[in-house]
C-alpha cells in the first residue's frame, strides 16, 4: 500500500486546519524576526535607529557588518538544523547530526589539507574541498553503520563521535606538525564576528539547500521509515540517500569554511521540533528552520553580551548550551523507564 505517499495532506481537505497550523508558525516567524532586529543593534559600537537615520557613516558600518552578520546567522542556523534533520531521517536515529557523524570534522580536515598544499587557494576551492571531505566522511560513517550488526539507538552516535574523534585527532596532529593550529581553531569553533559584506554570501547557497529539503520532504519522511519500507512503496532509496547526504555535506562544508563548526544545533533543534510537531518532514522543516535561526541568533547575542566588550565565539556558547540540552534529552529519556 502506498498510502503514506499518495494520501493528501489533512489540511488539503478543509482550509481551516491548515490555517490553524499556519498561525503558530507565523508567530514563530515574528519572534525570529524580532530577535534578528535585536541582533542588528547589539554590538561593540553603539548604533541606534536615530544614528542610522542621521549618520551616513554609521549606516555604512551597519550595512557592511551588522546586516550581513544577522543574515549569516539566520541562514546558517536554519541550514545546520535542516542538515541535522536530514541525517536523522537517513540514519533513522535521533542522535545523529553533522558533529556526531564525523561530517564536520571531515570538512575541517578538507580545508586543512587544501590550506597545506595550496596556501593561496581562493575561497571557492576551499569550500569545494570542505564539501568533498564532508561527503567522504559522511559516506564513511554510513558505510560503517551498514556493517554494524547491532544498531542500538545509542551505539550509532557513539560510533559517529568516535569517528569524529579519529578524524579530529588526525587533523589536530597535521595542524600541530605544520603550525596551523591557530587556523584550525578558527574552523573548529563557529564564530560570526568576522562576517561582513563579501564574506558570507556563500551561505545563501546553504539557505537554498534548506529549502530544497522542503521540496523532497516526503521522500525523506519515507526514507526515515527504513530502507525496507521505502523500497516497498517504490522509493529509489539509494538516490534519496545520495541526495540527502549531498545536501548535508554541502551545508556542513560551506558552514565550516565561512563561520566554523556549529555543534549540536542540528541535534537539538530537530528533536525539539519532533517532540511537538512530529516526524513528518514537510510539516517539520519550516519549524526546524525558524527554531534553528532563532537559537543561533540568540546564542550569538549572548556571546556578544556576556563579556562586553569582548566577543566569545558562538560555537563555544553553542557547545555549552547544546551539550546541556543534549544531556537533558538523554536523561529525560532515561527517566521514562527503559526507553
Amino acid at each position: 500500500m502506498a498510502t503514506t505517499l499518495s494520501r493528501p495532506e489533512p489540511g488539503d481537505r478543509t482550509r481551516s486546519p491548515g490555517l490553524r497550523a499556519a498561525l503558530p508558525l507565523a508567530a514563530a516567524f515574528a519572534a525570529v524576526l524580532a530577535l534578528s532586529v535585536l541582533s542588528l543593534f547589539v554590538g561593540a559600537s553603539d548604533i541606534s535607529v536615530q544614528r542610522l537615520l542621521e549618520d551616513p557613516e554609521a549606516r555604512e558600518i551597519f550595512l557592511l557588518s551588522r546586516v550581513p552578520r544577522t543574515l549569516a546567522l539566520v541562514l546558517a542556523g536554519a541550514a545546520m538544523s535542516v542538515a541535522g534533520l536530514i541525517m536523522q531521517m537517513l540514519t533513522q536515529n535521533r542522535f545523529v547530526e553533522p558533529s556526531t557523524a564525523g561530517t564536520a570534522e571531515s570538512a575541517a580536515l578538507g580545508i586543512l589539507l587544501v590550506t597545506l598544499f595550496f596556501p593561496g587557494a581562493p575561497l571557492t576551492v576551499k569550500i569545494t574541498a570542505a564539501c568533498v571531505a564532508a561527503l567522504l566522511g559522511t559516506g564513511l560513517f554510513l558505510g560503517i553503520l551498514q556493517r554494524i550488526a547491532l544498531k542500538s539507538s545509542l551505539i550509532v552516535p557513539l560510533v559517529g563521535i568516535m569517528l569524529g574523534a579519529v578524524i579530529g585527532a588526525v587533523t589536530t596532529f597535521i595542524a600541530l606538525r605544520f603550525d596551523l593550529l591557530q587556523s584550525l581553531g578558527v574552523w573548529q569553533s563557529g564564530d560570526f564576528s568576522g562576517i561582513m559584506r563579501g564574506r558570507y554570501e556563500q551561505l545563501w547557497l546553504v539557505g537554498l539547500l534548506a529549502v530544497t529539503a522542503y521540496l523532497i520532504a516526503d521522500r525523506l519522511t519515507v526514507a526515515g521509515l527504513g530502507r525496507d519500507i521505502a523500497v516497498n512503496v517504490g522509493l529509489d532509496h539509494r538516490t534519496v540517500m545520495a541526495v540527502g547526504v549531498g545536501i548535508v555535506a554541502v551545508i556542513s562544508g560551506v558552514t565550516v569554511v565561512v563561520v566554523g563548526m556549529l555543534p549540536f544545533l542540528g541535534l537539538v533543534v530537530p528533536n525539539l521540533v519532533s517532540m511537538t510537531v512530529g516526524d513528518h518532514v514537510r510539516r517539520g522543516v519550516p519549524w526546524v528552520c525558524l527554531l534553528g535561526s532563532g537559537v543561533l541568533v540568540l546564542c550569538d547575542i549572548v556571546s556578544r553580551v556576556i563579556r562586553m566588550p569582548f566577543e566569545i565565539p558562538v560555537g563555544s556558547v553553542l557547545g555549552v548550551v547544546g551539550a546541556a540540552v543534549f544531556l537533558y534529552m538523554l536523561l529525560r529519556r532515561n527517566a521514562h523507564g527503559a526507553r
Binding site: A149, L150, H336, G337, A338, R339
Partner: protein, 252 residues
C-alpha cells in the same frame, strides 16, 4: 517450587505484569503460552533475575531471588534468552565450561570436566566441541547455549522461546532434548513457547497468560480446549486428538 507473589512490572505507562501470583511445581516441563505482549518473556526474565520487578517477589525453593547471592541462585536456577550475542570468539567447549563457573569460579575440577563432557554428549555436540561459535549455524549455536545451561546443573532451567529460528526438524529435536532433560536428568524446565501444539505434546503443565495476567494453568488436556484458547488468544481453535495428543487447528 517456583513461587511468584503479586509480581508487577511497569514500563513507563505500560503495565506488563499485573500482580501475577503463580506456583510452578518441581519437576517436569512447564510451558508458558499466550499472545504477543502477554508478559510471558518478561515474567520468565524476572524469575531468571535478569530483570528487576517493580513489585512483588519470586522465590525458588523458598529462596528470594533478589536477596539470595547471585552465585547461590546460579547453582539452583539457570536461564537462557532467545538470542545471545557475544564478542569473544569462543569454542563450543569453552562456552559449555562456563556453565561450571557458579560451582568452581573458573578453576575446573575433574568433576567439572565430567559435567562438561556429559552436557556436550547430551546435546550431541561432541563433533562440534572445538569449533568456534561464530562458525556454527543458528540451531547449532542454540544447542551450545542449552548445553552450557545444562552443564550448570541447576534444578530449574528456564528457556525463553527455545524454538526461535529453528526449522521443523531441529525444533522437534530441541523439544525431545528438553523432555529428556526433565525425564532422565530430573530437571524442572520452564519454557516460553509460541506453538501451542508443541506445548501440548511435550509439557506436563501449561500456564496461559494474557494482558499481564495468568488466566489459566493446568495440564495440556485442561488447557487445550476451544473455550480456554478462545479466551487466551481471542481466536477460534478446533481441537483434534492425534495419537493421544491434543492438537489445535487454527490455520483457517
Amino acid at each position: 517450587m517456583i513461587e511468584l507473589t503479586d509480581l508487577r512490572k511497569v514500563y513507563g505507562d505500560d503495565t506488563v505484569l499485573r500482580d501475577v501470583s503463580l506456583r510452578i511445581e518441581r519437576g517436569g516441563v512447564t510451558s508458558i503460552i499466550g499472545p504477543n505482549g502477554a508478559g510471558k518473556s518478561t515474567m520468565l526474565t524476572i524469575i531468571g533475575r535478569l530483570l528487576k520487578a517493580d513489585g512483588g517477589r519470586v522465590t525458588v525453593d523458598d529462596l528470594d531471588t533478589e536477596r539470595t547471592p547471585g552465585r547461590e541462585m546460579a547453582k539452583r536456577l539457570s536461564i537462557l534468552r532467545q538470542e545471545n550475542r557475544f564478542t569473544t570468539r569462543l569454542t563450543v567447549r569453552d562456552l559449555v565450561r562456563f556453565g561450571r563457573y557458579p560451582h568452581s569460579q573458573g578453576r575446573l575440577t575433574a568433576e567439572d570436566h565430567r559435567h562438561v563432557e556429559a552436557a556436550l554428549g547430551f546435546l550431541d555436540l561432541e563433533p562440534l566441541a572445538d569449533r568456534f561459535l561464530d562458525e556454527l549455524s543458528g540451531g547449532q549455536r542454540q544447542r551450545a547455549y542449552v548445553a552450557m545451561v545444562l552443564c550448570q546443573d541447576t534444578d530449574y532451567v528456564l528457556l525463553d522461546e527455545p524454538l526461535n529460528n529453528l526449522d521443523m526438524k531441529h525444533a522437534v529435536a530441541m523439544m525431545r532434548q528438553i523432555r529428556s532433560a526433565a525425564d532422565t536428568l530430573g530437571k524442572s524446565v520452564v519454557i516460553v513457547i509460541h506453538d501451542i501444539n508443541f506445548a501440548s505434546a511435550y509439557s506436563d503443565r501449561i500456564v496461559a497468560m494474557r494482558d499481564g495476567r495468568v488466566v489459566h494453568t493446568g495440564t495440556p488436556e485442561e488447557i487445550m480446549t476451544p473455550e480456554v484458547l478462545k479466551e487466551v488468544f481471542d481466536l477460534d481453535v478446533r481441537i483434534e486428538e492425534v495419537g493421544g495428543t491434543r492438537v489445535g487447528v487454527y490455520y483457517r
